[in-house]
């Protein structure tokens, strides 16, 4: 949002936000492609599978948010819940 009289910031334009979004995808792709160049050694065999940490990071974060969103059904209360007598 740009208030009247303010100069526009780079992030104020939605196409630039899309650029940032695409940049995240690109960086992730590069990190996967770089994997054969690095000798991976993990503590467990599983960690040496191709893209294990990438996959794990994505699923963990995605699952975390979905689970937390679901938890809201049971846990969410009005903001003044504890102030009510």
């Amino acid at each position: 949002m740009q208030l009247p009289g303010e100069k526009a910031r780079w992030l104020d334009k939605s196409e630039n936000v899309t650029k940032v979004y695409r940049a995240v995808w690109t960086v992730c792709a590069v990190l996967l492609l770089a994997e054969p160049l690095v000798h991976k050694h993990g503590e467990f065999a599983m960690e040496e599978w191709f893209g294990f940490h990438a996959f794990f990071g994505f699923v963990a974060a995605f699952g975390l948010v979905l689970a937390a969103k679901r938890m809201r059904r049971w846990l969410k209360r009005p903001e003044d819940y504890y102030d009510r007598r």
Partner: protein, 567 residues
Amino acid sequence: MTGAELSPAWTLIVGAALVPLLRGTLRSVWIVLLPLVGMVQLAFMPHGEFGQLEFLGEALVIVRVDRWSVVFAWVFLIAALLGAIYSLHVRHALEPAAGLAYAGAALGALFAGDLLTLFVFWELTAVTSVLLIWARRSERAFRAGMRYLIVQIGSGVLLMFGALQQLAATGSIRFEHIGLDAPGGLLIFLAFGIKCAFPLLHNWLQDAYPEATESGTVMLSAFTTKLAVYALARGFAGTESLVWIGAVMTAFPIFYAVIENDLRRVLAYSLNNQVGFMVVGIGIGSELALNGTAAHAFSHIIYKALLFMSMGAVLLRTGTVKGTDLGGLYKSMPWTAAFCIVGAASISGFPLFSGFVSKSMILSAAGYESLFVTYLVLLFASAGVFHHSGIKIPFFAFFAHDSGKRCQEAPANMLVAMALAAALCVGIGIFPAPLYALLPYPVDYEPYTGSHVLTQLQLLLFAALAFSVLMRTGIYPPELLSVNLDFDWTYRRLLPRMLGAAGDALGRTIASAESGAARVLLQLETRARQLHGPRGVFGRTWASGAMGLGVMLMLLAFLLSYYFVQG
């Protein structure tokens, strides 16, 4: 002179007492000078035991200096310095005075060589720190502070009972490795566990910390929980149950952090999660794991203070830290935003930031011990902490949807404190050697291997990708004005309600008993009035003839009954 007077704890405690007497620049210089003097003292303190004295026939060791206490003392003094600079704009003397006394008490506890000395400083941290919550001067803060104080004092009482049991059984109150099976061990474990915010004992932290003042929360975040980590590491290293307790601590709070609206409360949840990593390290108990615990406590105190400082600056300038009310603040507070991002990168464990070089020691230690499930939980928690502390905090405060709020940048003293903390976060991340040299055991660990850097970057950036996708698709749960029920519901709602219901039932019983008794009394009284009142049978004035008639009737009745009996 026993050597105990060398401890920086006294400098801070006595120095804090003088703060209210000073005004203006003199006070500012004084409160920044105290932690600095403490650092000089610490640098010159020889290792060993000082201040041994007899108290009620027990040998006390007031000051014990070794590698464990020294590494924690350094970071406590750094935190005290950051907190002191951060609070310089505050006009009232209470906050800086309480903050420095609290830091001093925590230092005193670090150096305690026996459980009685530990107990005294343990309780002193509780009493001094609650002032930082009450300094907010609101009814809400007062109540939160009261709940906090009850829990903290309770922890100290458990510690005292545990220490007395140990004394009775072994004749010594020295603070060495204790273990769960030792006499009093379980009580002391619980006392440490409360301050460490173990699962289900944790809610005092998320309840109280967000209610303190801007600078108060910064101080609070540094000392209490890390003092407990230190005490656990000394007393219970290698206790297997700590691995599980710690693993639950790393995972459980992050779900709450995702849906919490108060950004300082989000940070309190992630503090809980970070302490979980340290507890896992203590549970594993190998030299690498314990080094990891000490190193992670060190970097954690600094980046956590930095994150709380950035949110404190937002609170000061906008009057709120609710995700629903914020957004777009990078335009008004670019420096604060930048420092916040440094703290966020550090807590997430990005390579070149402090969390990376310390947290990975604990993960590696879990790997070396082949703790597969624990390792996966820690990996999940690492992705999760990036998600809510690394992205959510800076994103919802400084970016996201522009709230239209325009304010001043944070005051200069806050910016200086944040800049110092940010410099330390990056400094430790790039040159971990000085930190490694301070750790309790010799370090043979290289965090920057190609494999480690790549896998960590993959983990974090794919977690960021998940966030981006969720945001773009609108699946990400919006920030909402709400509170989320946590374990504190049991003592803030369930218990009061049960007590209330029990009280009501008791009240009703008493009331019905009372009314029953009252009815009986009333009947008795009415009867007495009927009989003995002015017109009652016994109260009336009878004529003497009637009296004579009465007597005659009685005698006649007597005569008749006599005949019947004889006849």
